[in-house]
């Protein structure tokens, strides 16, 4: 089978690129491993092993059918900040080869695909004023900022890309979607400098080959690394792995639950902190975020703090609130305590990595082993951010904060994950530091691109979907000129 462009993976990224290029003259095939709904045998192709820091199983947080993991995402959207793209002295391996400005113009279309309404984000305060005031915080490192949410038409929240866009994909004359089509090998040509063919197999034993002029690997940060590493028939290190980077720098957002207790002396908090609120057609929720200035001055990483449900205080907590409020000259007779949640950025770590395992899946592909690690320093830096929030609450006399975790055991006692896989095919202008370049093309391979959060060199604290969609749409623009 011939094609101008093969897109491997029918998740949000693959679907976004396919639709963005559907009106071009390019003949496109979209190869999706699963069907239109969950199938246990297909899902089992994700199976792998893990060692090190406790982490979710490799098959747990992804879904392998059209729409990919958008079939169970939470719909949280928030663009990364400009600082997330910068090289920072306090963060090793930081620095993207592009800036936020290079991506900014793609967020409108990305928002449209997620059906997330008008982009408000940091301007959302203007449309939520009727719902109550923002938390009074003294001047300092944290401010209220906003998430927006994907919302699929009808009763389904949020947008499931397969279900939502299957009809649109079918309508495209030059686009063919193959379901149950598992790419098992990215075939390099003899010179090793370009992809010449893709081996495709189904679980019921059918096999075929696609010969594309170019290919986009959009199978998520775990599978994309596996395909590159396992396609080692020409280059024994795998594809794009001349500098031993594929699979390294795996990352996720740790989400320690109930990591702090927020007490508001007057007991009042606007509803948009506690849950989603609809305003002017958008679904919004506020969070507390460290400012760029604070991140720079304190050398901390990104984090997004959310206010969760009410909780009861113990006797020491009640005493702390009563004594502090009285000392500040504030009435705390109506004080209310809330639990805080968060998503934390982690330091890029080359040894937090995926490697091929000796065992094989049902299609004969090597399984993966995840070597998971998480530095104490990442928790310590987040703790500094929380402490600043506590200080700002005292300064405004609005409330106070308790930090609930200090030791590694305490952090891990309440640790959940964002299930945001990132970093395994990182982007860099320098082939020694990244797998793909600024155009998401694999270094030293003329016609292979990788899209998705696997290309993020650093991770921010924003939920990745809207960001990886913006990058995918930027790649689609590039492919319009690059693939003839």
């Amino acid at each position: 089978m011939q094609a101008d462009l093969a897109i491997i993976g029918g998740g949000p990224v693959g679907i976004a690129i396919a639709l963005a290029l559907a009106k071009t003259p390019l003949k496109i095939v979209l190869l999706e491993s699963g069907g239109m709904s969950f199938d246990a045998k297909t899902q089992a192709l994700y199976d792998g092993s893990k060692v090190g820091t406790p982490y979710v199983t490799l098959e747990a947080s992804r879904l392998r059918y059209l729409g990919g993991s958008s079939n169970h995402w939470g719909g949280w959207c928030r663009p990364m900040d400009a600082i997330d793209f910068e090289e920072r002295t306090w963060m090793p391996y930081s620095g993207w080869p592009i800036t936020k400005k290079d991506v900014d113009r793609y967020f409108v279309k990305a928002h449209e695909l997620c059906e997330a309404g008008t982009l408000y984000y940091d301007g959302a305060g203007k449309v939520t004023g009727d719902l109550g005031p923002r938390l009074a915080l003294g001047p300092g490192g944290l401010t209220t900022r906003w998430f927006q949410f994907s919302r699929m038409h009808g009763s389904v929240l949020p947008t499931h890309f397969g279900e939502r866009y299957a009809g649109d994909l079918k309508k495209q004359a030059k686009l063919t979607v193959y379901l149950q089509a598992n790419v098992t090998r990215l075939g390099l040509g003899r010179a090793g400098s370009a992809i010449s063919e893709l081996d495709v197999a189904t679980l019921d034993g059918k096999k075929f080959t696609v010969k594309p002029k170019a290919a986009v690997l959009a199978t998520g940060a775990i599978e994309s690394a596996r395909l590159l590493l396992a396609s080692n028939d020409v280059n024994t290190a795998g594809i794009g792995n001349n500098h031993d980077l594929v699979g390294r720098f795996f990352a996720d957002h740790p989400c320690p639950r109930d990591n702090a207790t927020l007490v508001l002396f007057d007991g009042k908090i606007a509803p948009y902190y506690l849950g989603n609120q609809v305003a002017h057609g958008a679904i919004l929720r506020a969070g507390l975020f460290p400012s760029e200035d604070f991140r720079r001055s304190q050398a901390v990483m990104a984090s997004s703090i959310t206010v969760e449900g009410k909780i009861d205080l113990d006797d020491v907590g009640k005493a702390a609130v009563a004594v502090t409020a009285a000392a500040l000259g504030v009435d705390a007779s109506n004080a209310v305590a809330h639990s805080l949640g968060c998503g934390m950025e982690v330091t890029p770590d080359p040894d937090r990595r995926l490697t091929l395992d000796a065992s094989r899946d049902a299609l004969g592909m090597p399984k993966l082993k995840l070597h998971m690690r998480l530095a104490d320093q990442d928790f310590a830096k987040y703790r500094l951010t929380l402490k600043e929030l506590g200080r700002q609450l005292l300064e405004s006399r609005a409330g106070m904060l308790k930090l609930n975790s200090r030791t590694r055991d305490e952090w891990f006692g309440s640790l959940d994950w964002g299930n945001h896989h990132m970093g395994t095919t990182r982007m860099s202008a320098d082939p020694r530091k990244g797998v793909v370049n600024a155009d998401l093309k694999v270094h030293d391979v003329a016609n292979l691109y990788v899209a998705g959060s696997s290309v993020f060199p650093t991770y921010g604290a924003a939920n990745p979907t809207i960001n990886l969609l913006a990058l995918a749409l930027r790649l689609a623009d590039h492919l319009k000129g690059a693939v003839k």
Binding site: K318, V323, G390, Q392, L394
Partner: protein
């Protein structure tokens, strides 16, 4: 309605005085007493001495080599006769923050609480 006689009125009034006086006396007798310390002036700045001592225990767990007399002298210099609310607001804005049992506290208040804990030890 039957009117009270002069004698009954005197008895009733006397009884009220005795009961009220007894109540006040009992409260004085039952009131928690603290041994005097050289830093009672500082502890008196917080309203709830028992609550302050509770928090103070957690603050002391965070501080090494806490020497009450020296600390009290430092605090008096810092407070300089100003209202406590003013001083701890200044602590917050000047980033003088301490921790006790995870609670983020203005440093001056945390140290007064620590003195209260020392006093009740």
């Amino acid at each position: 309605m039957k009117r009270l006689t002069r004698r009954q009125t005197l008895w009733l009034g006397g009884s009220v005085v005795v009961v009220a006086g007894g109540g006040v006396g009992a409260r004085l007798l039952l009131r928690k007493r603290f041994a005097p310390t050289p830093y009672d002036d500082l502890i008196a700045l917080v309203e709830d001495r028992d609550g302050a001592a509770q928090i103070g225990e957690t603050v002391l767990a965070e501080v090494e080599d806490f020497e009450p007399k020296t600390m009290a002298a430092d605090l008096r210099t810092r407070i300089a006769g100003r209202p406590l609310a003013t001083v701890i607001a200044e602590d917050a804005s000047d980033r003088r923050i301490a921790e006790g049992g995870g609670w983020v506290l203005p440093e001056t208040l945390a140290l007064i609480c620590a003195l209260a804990a020392k006093a009740s030890a």
